[in-house]
């Protein structure tokens, strides 16, 4: 399971304040703690006004790179902002994200064509998020074909089938599962990812829904997630599920995480 640590995101109020006030210690702490918890990528999303986004991203990237070797997931809705900071990033990471909206693939795919960079691809286009899974799968086909056209192998793609909140679409989970299974049947080596928490929007006990979503999605083949690795319950669910799915020899990752105090009752 690939964990993309989501904590350095300006839409989270405390992080937004830290970015606005250039509180580097706060950002460094988030990077270190997520790395220690086992994040495979550290997502960096400024969420500032567009005219100051590049500057904020560069500031964030410098801090993260100075405290951890974990690669960066560079996160912006604006492909030109990603392009502008791309060369500041020292080691191949993850582009978060492309879709078939506007010029995203045209700007970003050439950038990573001859590199080891990976990329998140959202299944939406200029018409928004499609209603049916068939439409989303059509977008997946086009996106994968486009990537392969640039020499980007499917194994470098993290397809995000996009999750509508269950409160507004009762078929949200079942659609997600259908997309997962179908895409994995085309390319077993492709990654499926999701930003977990959308599913529970508008419902009480969101954490419970999020955990159930994680289990069902992993069962359907999701092997990457944009999540908070410092959420001990979520991490325990993830590690337990991975062991149940035969992805953790002798439950070593699960028991080691427990021994290290990353899951289970906090020892602090």
């Amino acid at each position: 399971m690939i964990i993309i640590g989501e904590k350095i995101n300006g839409t989270i109020p405390s992080t937004g304040v830290a970015i606005a006030s250039r509180d580097s210690a706060f950002i460094a702490d988030l990077a270190v703690r997520q790395s220690e918890a086992g994040a495979d990528f550290i997502d960096v999303c400024a969420s500032t006004a567009p005219e100051v986004e590049v500057e904020a991203l560069k500031w964030l990237i410098d801090i993260v790179q100075s405290v951890t070797d974990v690669p960066i997931s560079i996160d912006s809705p604006n492909p030109h902002a990603i392009k502008a900071v791309f060369t500041d990033i020292e080691k191949p990471g993850l582009i978060n994200s492309v879709s078939l909206e506007a010029d995203k693939t045209e700007v970003l795919f050439p950038l990573i064509a001859d590199t080891e960079w990976q990329v998140v691809a959202l299944l939406c286009d200029n018409n928004g998020i499609p209603q049916t899974s068939e439409q989303r799968l059509e977008i997946a086909r086009q996106t994968i074909d486009c990537a392969v056209g640039y020499g980007i192998a499917p194994s470098r793609l993290h397809i995000d089938p996009l999750v509508i909140s269950l409160s507004t679409d009762q078929t949200s989970m079942t659609k997600f599962i259908h997309c997962c299974q179908e895409i994995k049947s085309w390319y077993p080596e492709i990654h499926i990812t999701s930003g977990l928490s959308n599913i529970s929007f508008g419902l009480p006990l969101r954490k419970s829904i999020n955990q159930s979503f994680l289990v069902l999605a992993m069962g359907a083949g999701m092997d990457s997630a944009i999540m908070d690795p410092l959420d001990r319950d979520m991490l325990a669910t993830l590690l337990g599920t991975d062991a149940l799915l035969e992805n953790d020899r002798y439950c070593r990752k699960y028991t080691t995480a427990y021994r290290q105090g990353k899951i289970g009752k906090s020892k602090n």
Binding site: R249, R252, T255
Partner: protein, 220 residues
């Protein structure tokens, strides 16, 4: 530091190997063992003993609940792999086998996790282990001992009910006229000094390492 030196070519650090086994650090352990094999037969024996010492530490870390059952199983697999890796070098060194030994889970009990760990450790210690599996009747054990001229019998159990089967097995050796020719060790959850005395077995153990030590004492 306890070094084994083969013609001054390669030094192996047995404490390091013990630690790697104890930490279940597979990559580091396999790397160390690869170096040992290059260092020659004498080193192989020292390395095997270092692995056994590490396995004993794993058992202790399990008892203190630092390790879990899956870790114990993993340790058993690592020990099997280590023993298999070292075997050719050990054979070259002419390491004497400790002889044959029969082991099983007694009739009426099908628990084999503990027994399998002991089998691994006995094999690693140099015994030629005949593992009859689980739910094994007394007469099968006696016949196997006769057919293979085996002098050491290990009886495993988890259920309290299995104590009756231990008794029946000891009695079967008595009835066959072989009781004074074999040593019987019993192990598992329900055994104790009292059970050992009551059933007429020769020894008992809860800890796998203790069991191996007792068997080794009998064999030599």
């Amino acid at each position: 530091m306890n070094h084994s030196d083969n013609g001054g070519e390669t030094m192996i650090d047995v404490n390091e190997i013990t630690q790697q086994m104890s930490d279940l650090d597979e990559a580091a352990l396999l790397q160390s063992l690869a170096e040992v094999i290059n260092a020659g037969p004498e080193s192989a024996l020292a390395a095997l003993q270092a692995c056994q010492a590490g396995l004993e530490q794993v058992g202790k870390r399990f008892e203190t609940q630092e390790y879990f059952l899956s870790d114990l199983i993993y340790a058993g697999e690592l020990m099997t792999d280590a023993a298999a890796l070292l075997k050719p070098a050990l054979a070259e060194a002419g390491t004497a086998t400790l002889g044959k030994l029969v082991i099983c889970t007694v009739k009426g009990d099908i628990h084999d996790i503990g027994k399998n760990i002991v089998v691994t450790m006995l094999g690693a210690a140099g015994f030629d282990v005949i593992d009859l599996g689980v739910d094994v009747a007394p007469e099968v054990i006696v016949q196997t001992a006769i057919d293979n001229d085996v002098k050491i019998i290990g009886l495993s159990s988890v259920l309290t009910l299995a104590v009756d089967s231990i008794q029946a097995t000891v009695d079967a050796f008595v009835a066959a006229g072989l009781r004074d020719q074999v040593k019987i060790i019993i192990g598992g959850n329900p055994v104790s000094a009292t059970v050992c005395e009551k059933t007429g077995a020769d020894a008992w153990a809860h800890n796998p390492q203790d069991g191996v030590t007792i068997c080794r004492g009998w064999a030599s």
